[in-house]
Symmetry: C2
Subunit: 308 residues, 2 copies
Amino acid sequence: MDGVSHIVVDWGTSSFRLWALARDGRVLAERRSGQGLLTATTEGFEIVLETHLAALGVGEGVPVMMCGMVGARSGWVEAAYVDTPARLDRLAAHAVAVPSTHRPIRILPGLAQRGAAGADVMRGEETQLLSLIRDGFDGIACLPGTHSKWVRVEKGTVSHFATFMTGELFHLLRTTSVLAAAVEAAAVEPDDPAFADGVREGLAMPELLGNQLFRLRAAWLLAGEEPARGLARLSGLLIGGELAGAAKLFGPLAEVALVASGSAVFLYRIALMLAGASTVIVHDADACVRAGLHAAALIAFPQEKVPA
Amino acid sequence: MDGVSHIVVDWGTSSFRLWALARDGRVLAERRSGQGLLTATTEGFEIVLETHLAALGVGEGVPVMMCGMVGARSGWVEAAYVDTPARLDRLAAHAVAVPSTHRPIRILPGLAQRGAAGADVMRGEETQLLSLIRDGFDGIACLPGTHSKWVRVEKGTVSHFATFMTGELFHLLRTTSVLAAAVEAAAVEPDDPAFADGVREGLAMPELLGNQLFRLRAAWLLAGEEPARGLARLSGLLIGGELAGAAKLFGPLAEVALVASGSAVFLYRIALMLAGASTVIVHDADACVRAGLHAAALIAFPQEKVPA
């Protein structure tokens, strides 16, 4: 493959995403798979990576910049956390080198928060934020997911962040709990009024979460409530509760940068508006992680590589 | 077996408990097993019951009073819910007869709440409450469990109740979530200050639950927090959140009847005191369900049976 300057990879617990980029950041090729950490630990990290690169015809020597759980203790090579307050433009300087005979490979570190603000960690989201600050972003960012992150960025520095287990709770309750039958539907419809109702109730009465959850089952048992509505309400309750917590930690949610992809964009935008946000600026999470990795690659691999 | 007047059975989703009682309620024999609904649906409800009775030498004709999920739609015979407001002393009148050639068998109904108070259901706890009202109980009762129940009893009538999924959330988070390693310990030590800390935080900031949960993992990762302390804190956070919700629905928790067995007695007593309760009267849940079933049996089977 011609014109590839460097490769960037977002490698998480359950997914692998790779882009081949030109020096100016243009996407020349892309690969996606379910070879997250769980799979890669068995198959071998280097084999997974090199197999994808071979499939694209990327030659030896083309460097790779990665982020995500691949840098966890249980990943390929541990990239030690950078503590908050953390300057995002310094992330690349803390990247750890992965031994390889094929090419230079670096993994970006995650961030850790210690002390009075409460222990917390992130891996991958800091790279999305790196993209935001290149456009001068300052303020509160919401990055929904299995473990949603809320982050305060001040002058290019992450000063405070908090993780909410919203996505994982949704998954557990939907698949493994007594609620499963009452919420058995393919996906949350953002337009379903049950979603907005759930958000409002989660925002107003987050202390009732454990009760609101059980009542999804009771409404299905007693009143034949549609599972699709139950699922929408479940999602709304959890996201509403997350927003109530975020407002507690970060103050009124007036202006929020929403870094998301897929259905989370619609759900969180609706929920943020219900929470009183006047401005929600959406940034595509995939584009952000790619741009953040690209920025880090330009710093870490300053010389243009000539593909072998 | 001599002197057996009637048999009482508490038959739940995952457990089976049977007592052979004298006419005055004395326990003559007891059987416990894990043959809950899941098992009994396969083995056959009548076979499970008669096998236990044969093992005790209980003759044909001795009647049986049951409560719990055995009366659910997915149980042996459905005992339709009684709607709130529900007079507890009328439960026996609503018991459903189970066809059997061996003996009279009845299943007590559960309770359903509909309308503005919020859809909710219980099966089994109403029978424990039947025991309480025989001692003239009036007020708020807390019945901890997989699905904790909070109940307002007025003049022998259940006027309002609410279920919280506390026990199930604890189980899911402990066994199946990303927290598992951070809370991997045998049991919660009620004396662990981490439990009380969790209760206080759950009471004060229930909107932060999703964040507090993730921070159990972060504290373990970053600061090497002991999993036993993590488990105690997890339990405290969930119970504290439940109490915050109960106070929202039932008003200040000044006087509470705690109907519980095992470690829940200690944990909820501590938590209730931290929530500001001045009086917590503990009732043993096993003794209550037995006494409630006994009371119902005396009504449903007025003639003393002569064992065959």
